[in-house]
């Protein structure tokens, strides 16, 4: 029990590290995923190929390998950035492939007739997309995006093992200080539960407000 009270600042630092990593990586994953999804439904062939290759490769890459390549490989390449930024890059790119597929299936759930009707009304491509298709797609993808981001939060633990300041990483210091390992891990587990449950609650509220009633 006293592991937490004695090392509150250390735990707090790790907890904030995980939260930061999750927030930044989520932003990157959502933005990149949106770009890749729009590439995959674009009428231009080469963009579709790029999107498909991006998704296929990243979905089949072990995240540890990606972290290895980005955190240890890129510096050899002459690119030196803070470790946390590298971690955000790896996590964000990896998750963007999953976000892309979720968004694409969301766009596919919108009936073709909706777009046809919009065009018949004389709407431009931008209007069709922005006013008719995307709002409906957005409503149907809230739950799967939520679970993808929860997976991202859990995956951020790998960054800790690559010595980015993060919740799981705190165990190393506490272990050296000689605290009970079991309790150390219990509080780490609680930290992760707080983060994942918060995301899940957030998306639950969003789904209640905007989700599709089925």
């Amino acid at each position: 029990m006293d592991v937490l009270t004695d090392n509150f600042s250390l735990y707090g630092e790790g907890f904030l590290g995980t939260v930061e990593l999750t927030v930044y990586s989520s932003a990157l994953a959502l933005a990149l995923g949106f770009v890749m999804a729009s590439f995959r439904v674009a009428p231009v062939g080469s963009l579709r190929v790029l999107g498909t290759v991006w998704v296929t490769v990243l979905r089949n890459t072990p995240l540890t390998l990606l972290f290895f390549a980005v955190l240890l490989g890129l510096p050899r390449f002459g690119l030196v950035l803070p470790f946390q930024l590298f971690a955000v890059l790896a996590l964000g790119c990896y998750t963007s492939a999953f976000i892309c597929e979720v968004l694409r299936s969301g766009i596919n759930t919108v009936p073709t007739g909706q777009g046809e009707a919009a065009r018949t009304l004389g709407m431009s491509f931008g209007q069709t997309l922005g006013n008719v298709v995307l709002p409906q797609a957005f409503r149907s993808v809230i739950p799967p995006i939520g679970s993808t981001l929860i997976a991202l939060a859990k995956n951020s633990a790998i960054a800790g093992a690559f010595s980015v300041t993060e919740l799981l990483g705190t165990y190393r210091t506490l272990n050296e200080l000689g605290y009970s390992i079991i309790w150390t891990f219990i509080w780490i587990a609680v930290g992760y539960l707080i983060i994942t449950l918060t995301i899940s609650a957030l998306f639950h509220v969003m789904e209640k407000r905007w989700g599709v009633a089925r």
Partner: protein, 289 residues
């Protein structure tokens, strides 16, 4: 029709001659941009001396090839154990969640929810550090707990998706609950869920690389040993270039297998309900007197 998008979408019409011309221009411009990006990366690789003979020499040595092969073997070994054990655990937990006894149901629900909410790596580290288990069993146990819980939910949805009538018919024939589950519901559930089950196994295969973080001597670990060798000028990038295609290829093979099974199932008449001709008026049973 040759130039339309692969599937009809709500986003745009089948392009006419003018739109097709415009799309061609976009296509050429974006292809040029992509090629420029690839070219820049290749230039950077050459510029930072990633293709010097020194950095690629290690892959010619027999010892290093054997080291990589042993690593790959260890990866596949961990995957095999984890796959078999997670399927078993998934079956047990699914049966637990479907049990008629309330405490059993509660305990299995709690276990499933907890193991799904925890990062796999935290569980692996806990087993490795706190319980002081060897690297391979720790890795396999962590993967089993996580994937087993996910698979339990897959099995449960599969069993619940079997038509009610199947269960009722089986009970009407005098089968016990265990018999109904094992002989009627489970086979149909597994068949329906096979693509999802294989996709989950891809996750397990990908996650075996977490073993690297607890110094299990798997494929990535072997790569790291070569990459951090000063004698070869720290060949990190060459190692990544050799290892990634193999990892990605393995996972893609398994993913492709999952989609292949799914596509085959959609065509197979066995997975669809067998249509029975309705009884004609005046006859008691179809085909009867």
């Amino acid at each position: 029709m040759t130039h339309s998008a692969p599937t009809p979408t709500a986003l745009y019409d089948i392009p006419g001659p003018q739109a097709r011309k415009r799309h061609l221009v976009y296509g050429i411009v974006s292809t040029a941009l992509i090629l420029a990006l690839v070219g820049w990366i290749v230039y950077l690789l050459f510029d930072t001396d990633q293709f010097t003979a020194e950095k690629w020499r290690p892959f010619q040595y027999k010892g290093i090839q054997e080291l990589l092969l042993r690593g790959l073997g260890n990866t596949l070994k961990a995957f095999a154990y984890a796959a078999v054990l997670s399927l078993a655990l998934g079956a047990v937990l699914a049966v637990g969640r479907l049990s008629v006894h309330r405490p059993v149901r509660w305990v299995s629900t709690l276990l499933v929810e907890f193991f799904r909410a925890m990062p796999v790596l935290v569980m692996i580290f806990f087993i490795f550090v706190a319980l002081k288990v060897q690297a391979l069993p720790a890795l396999v146990a962590g993967l089993t707990l996580y994937n087993g819980s996910v698979l339990a939910e897959v099995f449960r949805t599969g069993i619940n998706s079997v038509d009610r009538g199947q269960r009722e018919a089986a009970y009407a024939l005098g089968m016990r609950k265990t018999q109904v589950t094992t002989f009627v519901l489970a086979p149909q559930a597994v068949r329906a869920m096979l693509p999802t089950i294989i996709s989950q196994l891809v996750v397990a295969l990908k996650d075996t690389s977490l073993g690297y973080l607890i110094t299990y001597e798997e494929f990535l670990h072997a790569g790291k040993l070569i990459a951090s060798n000063l004698d070869y000028g720290l060949p990190f990038i060459p190692v990544v270039m050799v290892i990634s295609p193999i990892y990605i290829g393995l996972c893609m093979l398994l993913s492709w297998f999952a989609t292949w099974v799914a596509r085959r199932q959609r065509r197979s008449p066995k997975t669809e309900a067998v249509g029975v001709a309705p009884a004609e008026p005046g006859k008691l049973l179809p085909g009867g007197q």
